[in-house]
């Protein structure tokens, strides 16, 4: 029998949020073995001739054309707009309505695997959080900050579709802080900067995952259609202020009590990398338990905290 008859066709995968550093890593890992289509609502990413790339708003009709044209097997949704970006209304449109559209289309066009990238921020930071929060814990952040409502809503939608359409095989990943080269989220900017604000007297426990490890985790998840919600975090922890020290950051304390005072200060300064709505994440720990994902997917992060922090220390730009 000729060899080419045994050859499995390459799976076709839609990757949203393709302009992000993490998506780029995922694309690098999958480009040889899969037919990829990259989409980003913000910019069109140049990925060479092999990978069609589009700048499309999910809520526009043209988005459906992609599903018609490419017959996707898998969707990896990394297109969540972070809370530090855009206005609340635009985020709601992109994250909630856009995700709903994406999931509806996935259902309509018979997608067999959907991976949704969420965030551990959905658990919310508060003084009474126990450590090692598992996936069944309530998502408190919607009640704590209006800026995180769209992230929780996105998850709720994914959960509804997960149960309503089991054939979609939806997995929601809730990673801890993703850091590493070219990551531009809030925490990565803090670790990279020479001066980093801290809440005076508070140094909550944090978890960090290297962007390469997170990309590996997403690739693993995309290849095994286990439905469910999974935290993704290494079994290693460090206090925020210690992490800053190890990254060579000079800590700048912000008065932390009464709580109204730091909120006022942060809103006045308007620092993008230390926004008021994330203030409590720098006061109280949100330590998640990533063991369910590790066990299900046989995932072990390869980059240690020391390695992550060494990168930031070695690449520190002087003031």
């Amino acid at each position: 029998m000729p060899a080419h008859k045994n050859k499995q066709p390459k799976p076709s995968i839609l990757i949203t949020g393709a302009a992000g550093a993490l998506a780029q890593q995922v694309i690098q890992r999958l480009r040889e073995t899969c037919n990829l289509v990259a989409v980003d609502a913000r910019v069109r990413v140049e990925l060479g001739d092999q990978i069609p790339s589009y700048c499309i708003d999910f809520n526009k009709r043209t988005f459906e054309d992609l599903f018609r044209r490419y017959q996707f097997d898998t969707v990896i949704h990394m297109g969540r707009i972070r809370s530090s970006q855009l206005s609340r209304m635009r985020r709601y449109n992109a994250n909630v309505l856009g995700t709903q559209k994406l999931l509806d289309l996935s259902h309509k066009y018979g997608i067999r695997r959907v991976v949704v990238l969420s965030t551990y921020h959905v658990y919310g930071a508060m003084a009474y959080n126990p450590a090692l929060i598992d996936e069944s814990a309530p998502l408190k952040s919607a009640g704590l900050s209006a800026d995180l409502i769209d992230s929780v809503e996105l998850e709720n939608l994914a959960s509804i579709y997960l149960w309503r359409y089991p054939e979609l095989n939806i997995s929601v990943l809730r990673p801890c802080n993703i850091v590493g080269p070219s990551v531009r989220n809030t925490i990565a900017k803090l670790l990279a900067s020479p001066l980093a604000p801290v809440m005076a007297g508070f140094s909550p426990m944090m978890q960090f995952i290297h962007i390469d490890d997170m990309a590996d985790a997403i690739v693993l998840a995309s290849q095994k259609p286990t439905r469910g919600i999974f935290n993704v975090a290494p079994n290693d922890w460090v206090a925020y202020q210690r992490a800053l020290e190890l990254c060579g950051c000079t800590r700048v304390p912000i008065p932390s009590v009464p709580p109204a005072l730091p909120r006022l200060i942060l809103r006045t300064i308007g620092l993008k990398r230390f926004p008021a709505y994330l203030m409590d994440f720098f006061k109280y720990p949100v330590v998640i338990d990533g063991r369910a994902f590790e066990n299900e997917y046989g995932f072990t992060p390869k980059r240690s905290l020391k390695e992550i922090f060494r990168f930031y220390r070695d690449n520190k730009k002087p003031l």
Binding site: Y128, P130, G201, M205, D236, W237, A239, V257, K306
Partner: protein, 271 residues
């Protein structure tokens, strides 16, 4: 030499350094566990508490070897004295015992994590927010945990109520049964006299969002402290009614009362 290393060299002897390092803890690559416990902070804490334990309160601990060398343990004691001095002394007694020392964890009031500096400091030396989920996870990690089931009812009580056990929460019993943990009762005598309070200034406590504000002298008296640990008690798990659980809690309470009586009899004078 950095300031931290200099202070460490003054406070932490190499012997202590080794002793703490020898006690295995489930910590990550940077010396922390998920609750914020930190080996280096424990070394400082141990060095600072030593003179307080030995010289200031002249603590006498009996039966500390009753605490099993390994496996999940709940150390249940009577809470008193407005400040969590009793927890610190019980913790030090176990961490400094000659044979098989262990660094115990302590469940603390929900109010502490909201206090700048203090909350983190307590976490670093092993104290953890008193949440049943935390306690369960730590028992699963084979930790020894100090619990005062009276909570603020015990620590905030007035001097006239000294050595009268307040209502015990039953949460510890549920967890002990579920995780097959040894329950080691401890009767603490002396801490009631460290900060004797004659009243609780409730309006001020409410205004400050703290559990209580004692009307007391702003001094911690050097009362002599007696710690009497009892033999471990084991309670088989199963489907029990609340009344049956309460009965088991009462067994522990009775044992603690006996140990308190023992301490009071042993005590020759208050200071």
């Amino acid at each position: 030499m950095s300031l931290v290393s200099f202070v460490k060299s003054l406070l932490v002897s190499s012997e202590l350094d080794e002793q703490i390092n020898r006690i295995r803890k489930p910590i990550g690559t940077l010396g922390y566990d998920p609750w914020g416990y930190n080996n280096e902070a424990v070394k400082f804490g141990f060095s600072l508490v030593k003179p307080i334990y030995e010289k200031y309160f002249r603590t006498e601990a009996h039966g500390v070897d009753h605490i099993p060398a390994e496996g999940p343990v709940l150390i249940i004691g009577n809470h008193s004295g407005q400040l969590p001095i009793d927890g610190i002394l019980v913790g030090y007694a176990l961490a400094s015992r000659k044979k098989n020392p262990r660094i115990p964890r302590a469940m603390i009031e929900r109010f502490f994590p909201t206090v700048p500096w203090l909350g983190n400091l307590l976490n670093e030396v092993g104290a953890v927010l008193g949440d049943p989920v935390n306690c369960a996870r730590m028992l699963a990690n084979n930790e020894a945990i100090i619990v005062f089931p009276e909570g603020v009812r015990g620590s905030g009580k007035l001097y006239r109520d000294r050595y009268k056990l307040q209502r015990f929460g039953a949460g510890f019993m549920h967890l002990a049964m579920k995780y097959n943990a040894a329950v080691v009762p401890v009767g603490i005598v002396g801490c009631e006299e460290t900060v004797p309070s004659i009243a609780n200034i409730k309006p001020l406590a409410k205004a400050l969002s703290v559990p209580y504000v004692p009307l007391a002298l702003p001094i911690v008296f050097p009362a002599k402290v007696h710690l009497n640990f009892g033999p471990p008690m084991y309670f088989k798990g199963g489907d029990f009614s609340d009344a049956e659980i309460d009965e088991r809690v009462d067994q522990v309470k009775t044992e603690i009362n006996r140990l308190i009586e023992k301490g009071l009899t042993e005590r020759k004078r208050l200071f």
